[in-house]
């Protein structure tokens, strides 16, 4: 049975408990990193892992290790402090990598 996991600080992620995500709270970046690693390595049980932006930015190296795999998808979501534009920046970066310029912006 596959579940959706969610990692972040308590205030940002507790709401996701109510809609049935598996929520893991982490108070420090190290803790979050450890949790994400454990979740990602647990053989496809968590195909989607949402991570709050604050932690997502801190563990880029860990996330890039899973970038080539089909699952899990580690996706950033804005935390309680609002969006810092991490998600859009990531896609922009990918576009530049793939095409050489971020041409999708113009349309």
């Amino acid at each position: 049975m596959n579940r959706i996991a969610c990692v972040g600080d308590r205030d940002s992620v507790r709401g996701f408990m109510a809609i049935g995500f598996e929520v893991h709270t982490a108070d420090t970046l190290q803790e979050a990193e450890k949790t994400v690693r454990a979740l990602a390595d647990s053989e496809n049980v968590y195909p989607i892992i949402f991570v709050t932006e604050e932690y997502y930015n801190g563990m880029k190296h860990l996330i890039s290790a899973y970038a080539e795999k089909v699952v899990p998808a580690i996706i950033s979501i804005p935390g309680k402090n609002g969006s810092q534009g991490t998600g859009l920046a990531a896609v922009k970066e990918l576009t530049e990598k793939a095409i050489g310029a971020d041409i999708a912006l113009n349309s």
């Binding site: 709401g15 109510a18 998600g87 990918l94």
Partner: protein, 218 residues
């Protein structure tokens, strides 16, 4: 700069190289087509992702404000307690999809528990603000799943496009020019040998004629 490969200038090598050149050209064309189509698909996905991302972030922001309001009206422990045993459970069916031979995930979520009753708590200890927050969050669930799907696809496609682009460039700027110059140099060398051979024959013929004249005059 194209360099001549180290091969023996023989007819055998020439025909081999010509065959390779043909294959390289064909491969180059195919890869180029693949790249173009992937870029097209990629841009579509990126556009979709951008829209989804913007809308999800906007809505999540809203949800966070709802939750802060909720925790203002009731104690933090009470909020926690209300949320800790969810009534509905989201399970995910993950499948894969093939975009130009890139395997991307497809997520299909299903919920256990009824849609109408998502509130996992009694109404006595909680306030209406919490209901609003949970309801709003529940509404973005489909979009969240879709966002995860497109964002992962974008990631996977991007790295595949990069690889294909490198291959196309390597063929276009290294392999094909190298093969072309090598073929040309072999052709020139063979022609040169041919010419050398003809001159030699002519020379021998002259010598033989001269010799026969000399003999007849004696």
């Amino acid at each position: 700069m194209a360099t001549v490969m180290k091969v023996n200038p023989t007819r055998m090598e020439l025909s081999k190289l010509k065959k390779r050149l043909k294959t390289a050209r064909r491969g180059h064309k195919l890869l180029k087509d693949k790249r173009d189509e992937m870029v097209k698909q990629f841009l579509e996905l990126v556009r979709k992702n951008r829209e989804l991302r913007a809308s999800v972030e906007e809505k999540l922001k809203q949800v966070h404000t709802y939750f802060s309001v909720a925790s203002a009206t009731m104690s933090s422990q009470a909020v926690e307690e209300a949320l800790i045993c969810p009534k509905q459970e989201v399970t995910l069916e993950n499948d894969t999809k093939n975009i130009m031979s890139v395997i991307v995930p497809r997520f299909e979520y299903s919920m256990t528990g009824s849609d109408s009753d998502i509130y996992s708590y009694g109404f006595v200890t909680t306030t209406a603000e919490l209901d609003v927050a949970v309801g709003a969050l529940s509404n973005i669930l489909p979009q969240l799943v879709e966002l995860a799907e497109t964002e992962k696809s974008v990631q996977l496609l991007a790295s595949e496009i990069e690889k294909t682009r490198r291959r196309v460039n390597a063929l276009e700027h290294v392999m094909i020019p190298n093969l072309e110059v090598t073929v040309k140099s072999i052709v020139m060398k063979l022609d040169e040998n041919e010419r050398g051979n003809i001159t030699r024959l002519m020379k021998v013929k002259d010598m033989m004629i001269a010799e026969s004249r000399h003999e007849s005059s004696v």
